[in-house]
């Protein structure tokens, strides 16, 4: 199957949602945690990505809440979103396995 690799922010957003439905700010903080502080999403990037992922039917709105007069919209993965993330994990796993084997080999020769 010829699917483009996911960009890192997209991968991290889907990974954040794999733990369950989250609202925008929750996704931002979770992405920062998952990436060990290396990736910090901002609102513009986040909502451009969420909009595109919803267009591609990889995520959908789970529910809405009003907290302190502010709207919180929770997003969740759709079944195609779960499949897409799983496929990406498998692709990365295959690559890292090859890389690890070759590094072992390199270490053995050194």
């Amino acid at each position: 199957m010829s699917q483009r690799p996911l960009q890192e922010p997209t991968f991290l957003i889907l990974t954040a949602l794999a733990a369950g439905a989250q609202h925008g700010y929750g996704i931002m903080t979770d992405v920062t945690n998952i990436s060990g502080g290396r990736v910090k999403l901002r609102a513009g990037t986040l909502y451009a990505a969420l909009d595109r992922l919803a267009d591609e039917r990889l995520i959908e709105v789970d529910r809405e809440e009003i907290v302190d007069t502010r709207l919180r919209r929770y997003y969740r993965l759709t079944p195609p979103g779960v499949q897409r993330l799983a496929a990406e994990v498998e692709r990365m796993r295959a690559h890292t396995a090859v890389a690890a084997r070759r590094l072992d080999l390199l270490g053995g020769l050194a």
Binding site: S2, G24, A43, G44, T45, L46, Y47, D51, R52
Partner: protein, 315 residues
């Protein structure tokens, strides 16, 4: 006047399209205000740049903004899978009739079609293997080949219904493969009944042409035009997806119908049978669908602009 941080964020969010603001503005404001530190009065430089960039990204993909876009994308995916199969089914059987006539001119026409059908066969195989990008490249090559054949054989001034049918069909296939998730998505949507229906129509039409046209061309043409029109009309009345598929297929179907309805005229020369329309009729019939498309695009753009303006006033 005391301008708050929220007002300033709201001004920045005004850069987004009205539809996006209606959907996400409150939510984004919530996220931005939650992320602001105590006492912050102005948006930070990084946040400002990011919001400008986000608005630009959203505005650069306007075609995806409408609520109907996912349906159009699915319709394009279905067309990307079905069109090569329909073309192969219809024209392969159709050429049997040309070969049965036994005249050198009709043999030559069948052989000429066979080269183009080879291109469609490659596209069909790639599509069935779900290789969207390779299929799009093959379809683009086919479009260039068809354009070259048309310009070479007919010198453009005699562009006719069969040429326009070949050009619009290959052009539509390129667009469908580029602008949609492609055959993989179509295979998720379609079941065996859809495939059976999609192939029964062109095979039925080609069969009518094959066994009725030789003896009763007028009857054959009437049956084919009626069947094409009835199929498209039926699809327009069915589901929202089939309505969109019918709309997309209407352009090549138009040239197929025109080819059957407008009889070849005698302009002399070796292309007597293929240059069916001459003078103002040729130009009018060639341009008509594109003029209609232009009008539809203009009306849609005006409506969208009015909608966006109303949305901005509301916000």
């Amino acid at each position: 006047m005391n301008t708050t941080l929220e007002d300033r964020y709201r001004r920045l969010l005004a850069m987004y399209p009205a539809g996006h603001r209606r959907k996400h503005q409150d939510e984004m404001l919530g996220v931005l205000m939650t992320g602001a530190h105590a006492g912050q009065r102005r948006p930070g430089l990084a946040d400002t740049a990011n919001l400008v960039w986000g608005a630009l990204l959203i505005r650069l993909r306007p075609a995806r903004r409408g609520a109907a876009w996912p349906l159009w994308r699915d319709a394009l995916a279905v067309v990307s899978l079905l069109l090569p199969l329909i073309v192969l089914a219809y024209f392969t059987l159709l050429n049997v009739a040309l070969l049965r006539v036994g005249s050198p001119l009709f043999d030559a026409l069948a052989r000429s079609d066979a080269k183009t059908l080879g291109g469609w066969l490659i596209v069909a195989v790639l599509v069935l293997l779900r290789l969207r990008r390779s299929a799009a490249a093959a379809a683009a090559a086919l479009l260039i080949w068809v354009a070259y054949l048309t310009s070479d054989a007919l010198n453009w001034s005699y562009i006719d219904a069969p040429s326009m049918l070949a050009l619009t069909a290959s052009g539509l296939e390129v667009v469908a493969l580029v602008a949609s998730p492609g055959p993989a998505r179509a295979m998720e949507i379609m079941n065996w009944k859809h495939y059976a229906f999609a192939l029964a129509i062109p095979l039925g039409l080609a069969a009518v042409f094959n066994w009725v046209w030789l003896d009763h061309p007028a009857v054959s043409d009437t049956i084919m035009v009626t069947a094409c029109g009835a199929t498209l009309a039926g699809m327009l009345l069915a589901s929202a997806l089939s309505k969109r598929v019918a709309t997309l297929l209407a352009l090549p179907a138009y040239y197929l119908i025109v080819e059957l309805v407008v009889p070849p005229s005698s302009i002399g020369g070796p292309y007597e049978f293929t240059s069916g329309w001459v003078g103002p009729l040729r130009i009018t019939l060639t341009v008509l669908p594109f003029a209609v498309l232009l009008c539809v695009a203009l009306v849609a753009t005006l409506r969208s602009a009015r909608h966006a303006e109303a949305g901005s006033r509301e916000a």
